[in-house]
Structure formats: structure tokens, C-alpha cells
């Protein structure tokens, strides 16, 4: 949380002129949320979010569905009015400002391309609305389409494009307006895995190229880890952890974060005491654990636990072993199949082993938190 990411590039001047860099705004803060809440009757969608997104950073909001991340994004865009709290864009309080007067643009989950317009008219919509002269409009539309590698697609219809192409048109339509903040609501959710991975790289490259602040909503922890400069993990309408991907992954603050971001092993109570000689709840990442012979020697900075392999899941590049400890817990261990064949890996089932890990990888978790939800996202 202490790592600072500087704005990468100077921004194009803000539209409208009402957003100034002085006044109430802290320089370098693109979006600030002060105690933002959203309730629908008795249902609390966002229970109170404080957040500062820095200028030029790729910021992700990660969480399971219903955790309030999309609602938070929609309040930044202006589609939802907060029940309480303030939304500040570049120092300007926009809490009650309509979406069309905010200097942000959104890439929608379903892309929301206008089906009755060509690709060129879709991308040029924001410019047309703002009465940018036709000649300049065409140039900027072409430029935006080039950026998303769709040059020459102006005359196509959205219905003639593939999912990945539509996604890129949606991106171009938002970027062509040169917003200072771009909001992305699970933009890759509808794409297949391969395309999604390509688009992750492409999105990140575009963000670095244009230097616009990206706020990216996703439920895919891998996506958030690969793309973000910083990320906030949402659960039950609150931010439960905020930091760089490395911080969140390597030092999950709570049980929920440990479970949601990556697979995690939890060791608690008597088991923790007997193996580590410590009280508390600890998490150990599956890839940090080494499978060793039952009589293997253990270093001074390492912890070891005896157990039996109960289950073997062959995953291609890795194998996942489910090990039952003699002390009475189940741990997941992943090992790369560097020199192991699938037959060899699967033959391990039932073997007695010793699990060894560095003491620094036993991460203590905050106990007594309200969220008891545990999810295993492999």
C-alpha cells in the first residue's frame, strides 16, 4: 500500500474546463471516494468505500459478484447516485453531476454499441455530441480505430463483428474522447480464454501508451494481478484490502482475500500450534510448499509437516496434490511438472510425504473479521 506509482505522462487538457488541478483536489489523485454508500431500500450494495485512485494508474476493483465493485464503478460514472458520501474527480466534487457532464468514459460489460450505427458512427458518437467539426472527427475516429487495430472498419456494423472486435470498438469509442479516467466494467468477461489473455496485454499496452487512468472492474483474480498497478479487493460492499498485486497476493490481510486471490491453505488452531508452534491462523500458498521424502532434512528457517497424498490433479504444466497432514488438516500443494510425467505424478497417490516450506511464507491472517466467506479460486 505504500508503493507509489507516478503518473506516466502529461494528460491532454480536461474538457469543460471546470476540473482544475487546484482547489480541493490533491494533485495526482484522479478519483477520490469519501465514505461512499449505496443502498436500495434495505439492500446495501456498497457499505462505505474510501478510495484514492492516482492519476495515470491502472487500478482494479476485484471481488465476487455482489461485492459492490460494479456499483462503485457506476457511481464514479454517474449512473448511480450515492446514498451517502462524495465522489471527487480531479478535485471537483461530481457527486450530483450527471454522467454527460463528467470527464470519464465507460467501457460496458455488454459493450453497449449502438446497433443502428456503423463502427465509425459509434466511435464518433462522443465527438458528434460535443460538436467536434466533421473533418476533425473522421481523423480522430480513424486514429482511435488504429489504436485498437481496427483501421478501416469504419463502415462495418457492430453485428458484423466478432466479440473481440466489438470489445475493441467499445474501447475506441471511449478513448476517442480522451477522458482523464476510463472506467471498464468487466470488459473481457464475454471473451474466450485465449482472446481474453491477448486483450489483457493489449489493454495494458494501450493504457501505458495513452497514460489515462484506468479503473477496471473484474471478478477474475488473475486478470487483476496481471494488469493492475494497484488493486482493491471488495467483499460485501467494502474494500477488504488495497495494494499492489504482489502485496495482495503475498500478504493477504484476511481469510477472504487469501481465499479469493489465488488458492490458499489455511492452518489454524491446534494444527498451527503443533506444526509451527504458534497460535493464530496462517495461510500458505500452494506453490510455496515443497513435497519431500518423509525423512528429508529441514533447514533452520523452514517448517515441515508429515502427511499422506490423498489426491492428485494433473493440470498440464503443474500438478496439484491434496495432502492430508498427520496433525489433521488438508493442504493443497502445487508443483511444476518440470521433469515429472503425468503417470509419475498420478502414481504419487497414497504416498507418505513431508511438506516443507520457508517460515517466511506462513502468513498470519487477521482473525475475528466479519467475512467468513471462503472461496477457492484456482
Amino acid at each position: 500500500m505504500t508503493l507509489s506509482i507516478d503518473p506516466r505522462e502529461a494528460h491532454p487538457p480536461a474538457r469543460g474546463g471546470s476540473a482544475t488541478s487546484n482547489g480541493a483536489g490533491t494533485p495526482g489523485i484522479a478519483v477520490r471516494l469519501d465514505g461512499v454508500e449505496k443502498r436500495y431500500g434495505d439492500v446495501v450494495a456498497v457499505a462505505g468505500v474510501d478510495l484514492e485512485v492516482r492519476d495515470g494508474e491502472f487500478f482494479s476493483m476485484l471481488g465476487p459478484s455482489g461485492s459492490g465493485k460494479t456499483t462503485t464503478l457506476r457511481m464514479i460514472a454517474g449512473f448511480e447516485l450515492p446514498t451517502r458520501g462524495r465522489v471527487v474527480l480531479h478535485g471537483r466534487d461530481v457527486t450530483d453531476v450527471a454522467p454527460f457532464d463528467r470527464d470519464v468514459n465507460t467501457v460496458f460489460q455488454d459493450y453497449a454499441l449502438f446497433p443502428h450505427m456503423t463502427v465509425g458512427d459509434n466511435v464518433g458518437y462522443g465527438l458528434m455530441v460535443r460538436k467536434v467539426p466533421v473533418a476533425e472527427r473522421a481523423g480522430r475516429v480513424a486514429e482511435a480505430l488504429r489504436m485498437v487495430r481496427l483501421d478501416g472498419y469504419e463502415r462495418r456494423r457492430p453485428s458484423q463483428l466478432s466479440g473481440g472486435q466489438r470489445q475493441r470498438v467499445a474501447l475506441a469509442r471511449a478513448l476517442v474522447n480522451r477522458p482523464r479516467v476510463l472506467l471498464l466494467d468487466e470488459p473481457l468477461g464475454a471473451l474466450d480464454l485465449k482472446l481474453r489473455e491477448e486483450m489483457q496485454i493489449e489493454l495494458k499496452a494501450i493504457q501505458q501508451q495513452v497514460g489515462i487512468t484506468f479503473i477496471y472492474v473484474t471478478h477474475d483474480q488473475e486478470e487483476a494481478l496481471t494488469m493492475s498497478d494497484r488493486l482493491a479487493v471488495f467483499n460485501a460492499g467494502r474494500i477488504v484490502q488495497l495494494g499492489t498485486p504482489a502485496e495482495v497476493y503475498e500478504r493477504p490481510g484476511t481469510r477472504f482475500v487469501a481465499g479469493f486471490v489465488g488458492t490458499s491453505n489455511l492452518v489454524t488452531g491446534d494444527v498451527a500450534r503443533s506444526i509451527m508452534g504458534r497460535d493464530g491462523t496462517f495461510t500458505i500458498r500452494p506453490e510455496k510448499i515443497r513435497l519431500a521424502e518423509p525423512d528429508a532434512s529441514v533447514g533452520a528457517d523452514e517448517t515441515a509437516a508429515a502427511g499422506t497424498i490423498r489426491d492428485v490433479v494433473y493440470l498440464g504444466p503443474d500438478t496439484r496434490y491434496i495432502v492430508e497432514l498427520d496433525a489433521g488438516a488438508r493442504l493443497v500443494v502445487t508443483q511444476q511438472n518440470l521433469a515429472t510425467t503425468s503417470t509419475e505424478a498420478l502414481a504419487q497417490q497414497g504416498r507418505a510425504v513431508r511438506l516443507v516450506w520457508k517460515r517466511q511464507h506462513e502468513l498470519p491472517l487477521v482473525e475475528g473479521e466479519s467475512d467468513t466467506q471462503e472461496e477457492d479460486k484456482g
Binding site: F79, F100, A112, F114, Y125, V129, R130, A174, N177
Partner: protein, 283 residues
Amino acid sequence: MRRLAAWLHRRPRTRLGLLLAGPIAWLVVIYLGSLAILFLNAFLSRDAFSGATVYQPTLDNFARLLEDPYPGITIRTLGMAAVVTLTCAVLALPIAFFMARVASPRLRNTMVVAVIVPLWASYLIKVYSWRLILAEEGILNEVLGAVGLRGPGFGDVAVWLVFTYLWLPYMILPVYAGLDRIPDSLLEASADLGGRSWMTFRRVVLPLVLPAVVAGSIFTFSLTLGDYIAPAQVSTTIFIGNAIYAQFGAGNLPLAAALSLVPLGIVVLYLLVARRLGAFEAL
């Protein structure tokens, strides 16, 4: 019974034939048959003295259509149908927009019922009700008279009012369905890109709902074109329907048939245009 079912199962064509024999017979014999007779009748003529139909093909009736007063009647009817359709569209858009995008689900259902219920009432009752409203000593004049105004009375304005009232539900329902189909995210995207309400309506909502408006206009337009009862009740103006009725009453069936081909032809043209505008997908 089981054996019959099994026998039919092996013969899909026979099954289809049994299923459609009745409706097809109805369509071909009664519906298309009467249309064909109507069409053929238009080429016959009537003996001026005896009044009997002369079975000798002629184009005289069509020539009559180009003589006074028929071109005027046709234009007047077309104008009335166009004005009624436009009025229905203008009234239906905000109502349907409220139903589809603003009202709570409960209020929406209530409104759908409220729009449909008048269609269950007798057409004649509704027209006669309008007679009572618009009559010289009617409710409208009584109410307006209190503030020193007068209602339109019987005449073309009355015809326009009654037609608009009668056909409005046929416009509201498809427009409501059309608006309901537009995803929220499109309206949000327009706002997000800087579009204010009017811009969003003109550039996004209207083009997307236009096929539904055209679909509704098929009803309002063709129903106005063919109606002769409402004009006869609240005006003395002659529309195509009244002209056909008059010729029919006078026993000149061939001329009545030729006259009735006019609205038929107009509706066919209208449907062709409507299809191009995508109205059939919106029905």
C-alpha cells in the same frame, strides 16, 4: 389409438397436412376466394336501366375512380390516415416510454391492462360515446362553455379525435414492446459519451424504436383507411369507406369493388415500405 399415433409419427407430411388442412381451406376458399371475386367484380359494369350486373369485362370503373369526387375522397382519406397515425405516434411515445423505462413493474402491468381494456369494449359503443361527448348539447360543450369556449362539434376534427382515440392502443403496445427491448446500457452509453436526454432520444432511442412505430402505424393507418362508421357518426365528410358503402347501398357492386381496391392497394404499398423499415421484426 396408439397405432394411429405411431402410423402418423412415421408420416410427417400427412401429419402436417391434417394439421393445416382446415386453416388452409379457410384461407383459400373463403378469404382469398372472396378477394378474388371482389377483384373480378371491379372489371364488370352495371346496366344503367335495369341495375343488373353486366358480365362484360371493362375498365370503366377504374376510369370513374379518376373522376370527381373520387380523387378528392382518396386524398382526404389518406390525409386523415396520416394525421391520425402521426398523432397516435406522438401520443404513444411518451406513454410507452414511461411504461417501459420509468414505471415500477406493478404500475407497468396496470398500465398495460389500462391500454388493452378499451379494446374489449364494443367499437360501436365507443363511437356513440364520442357522439354524446361532441354533440352540440354534449358534455364537452357544457364543460368548455363554463370557461367561454366551444368544442369542435361534428366534423373533420371530430373524426380525427375519434380515430386517434380508437386506434391509440394499437400504437402504444408495439412501441412499448420496442422500447422495452432497448438495453439500459445503450442509454447509459449515450449519456456517458456526453449525450443529454434529447440527444439520446433523437440519436439512440428514436432510431431503435422506429420499426416498432412503423409496426403500430400499420394498424392505425390501415384501420383509418377502411373505417366508415366513425366518420358517418361524427361528421358528414365522405371518406373512401363511406363512398364504398354508398355505392354498395346503391347496388353498384362493380364500382364499390373498384373503389375498395384503392385502400387495398395503398395498404399493400404501405406494407412494402414498412417491411423495408424493419417493422415486421418489431411486431
